[in-house]
Amino acid sequence: MDFDYAHYMLTDGKKGKENPVGSSPSREAYRKQLAETFNMNRTRILAFKNKPPTPVEAIPNEFSSATHQVKSAKPRRHIPQTSERTLDAPDLVDDYYLNLLDWAAAIFFPLLLDTHVKWAPDGRHIAVGLNNSEVQLWDSTANRLLRTLRGGHSSRVGALDWNNHILTTGGMDGQIINNDVRVRAHIVETYQGHHQEVCGLKWSASGQQLASGGNDNLLHIWDRSMASSNAPTQWLHRLEEHTAAVKALAWCPFQGNLLASGGGGGDRCIKFWNTHTGACLNSVDTGSQVCALLWNKNERELLSSHGFTQNQLTLWKYPSMVKIAELTGHTSRVLFMAQSPDGCTVASAAGDETLRFWNVFGTPEVATKAAAKTSSEPFAHLNRIR
């Protein structure tokens, strides 16, 4: 709001009209000059009248529903660590041009960075999902890029999971692709069903079923037996009970065909599914956004990680879903959890840029003894890595 201008219009402008006799020509001229200046000094917001060409929709329309929306862009978050640079007073044009490259690189590079990484079952290879829709395969021992998978997705790859030599990728385009990383023509199967970004992907232990969750609040179960070679594969189950994005997915290690899924901020529930029949066995409101789920391999327990407000990890007894412990410490939502090979320690990573370790699952022996105690102390304590 330009108050000066507004004031002028409300007062001086009026004065001029009320006392035309009293104003001299020079005063008029002055007022005119003032008006011109005010107009010139007012900041105007202008929009280019010609509109740019409309882009063609990247997501197939056949799966659209009443809630279908085309999100044309999704944000990436990365702040470059290099300090801000300004060009020093250039005595030489050459010096100036070199600095030009620096700032250009600094501005454009952050747009190309990625965050989604997944270790292969062999413990040696790493898959990296990039912002530009490509997927890189790295050899961690030789420290080199083995290959880049291209041509599958049309936008960023935000979810990955391995099934032996198959790397399954989920994209912002809603597509899920099975890539056989051993062969040149790596795309062996496509699952179409999500109409918004795929944010969760998990293969069952047997490698027979895949669970996928999307920003469209859908949970799909895909079965390898339904594979089609000449058309996108149809889902086995489409589960629509969640009312927010489904990112957290975990298959039960001690009961076949049992899947746990967690919903985002508008849902906050952990739901349990029989993936054979598609039936929902149980639903528990946790009170906050469920970011990740992890089953205890040693005991019948489930660990969930959350966001606002507590950013806690909650340990539940299964199947009673009684809360055993709540582990706090993270200062922002706990997006990732992983367990140690012996299944006793859990590492959690949050947006607060810390990695914490929790001896939450204990050893089979210790866990039994702890259960016998009536203490309500949480199991946590932890190393903190920044």
Binding site: P52, S72, T86, A89, A105, P110, G264
Partner: protein, 166 residues
């Protein structure tokens, strides 16, 4: 003071305006490619600033951007440009999803005094607009650069997304 003026003469106002408006062209292309606004196949790789940059090959988008940059160059020379905003909106709902804000500070000493007589924009290609702000945005400040005549600061704001890391 005299040497400072001499230094600035090297990078003339016109040169600075050309550099900055060219930057906007590449920035716009980069944003359109990386944010997936137009299909990847419609972009071609070129070398610029020592980097592989992507430029649209679509004639419609090309002419839109080049009209934009030549207009920006004019305004930059006149010292009249305070900011350039590139807005990405949902085609279906008209909702603003992402907002790239380039703020410009111009060295007023260097701007020629002949501004008032200069032809400004043709009234037929530009219309008054609202700022197209995003409610409760997340913001990321990127690097700034300075040609000593024009200083450009970049800030991108976007809608809070469920799974964005804080």
């Amino acid at each position: 003071m005299a040497s400072k003026t001499a230094t600035k003469d090297i990078i003339t106002l016109r040169g600075s305006a050309a550099i900055v408006s060219e930057f906007f062209g590449y920035a716009a292309n980069s944003i359109l490619y990386n944010r997936g606004v137009y299909p990847e196949e419609s972009f071609a790789r070129v070398k610029k600033y020592g980097l592989p940059m992507l430029l649209t090959q679509d004639e419609g988008v090309k002419s839109f951007i080049s009209n934009l940059t030549s207009q920006l160059s004019e305004w930059l020379e006149a010292g009249k440009l305070q900011r350039v905003v590139l807005v990405i909106m949902s085609k279906a709902t008209g909702e603003v999803l992402e907002r790239w804000n380039f703020s410009i500070e111009t060295d007023s000493e260097v701007v020629e005094k002949g501004v008032h007589g200069q032809r400004l924009c043709s009234p037929f290609t530009w219309i008054e607009s609202d700022p197209k702000l995003i409610a409760n945005p997340q913001m990321v400040k990127l690097h700034s650069f300075d040609t000593k005549i024009h200083k450009v600061d970049t800030l991108v704001s976007y809608k809070n997304d469920e799974w964005d890391e804080e």
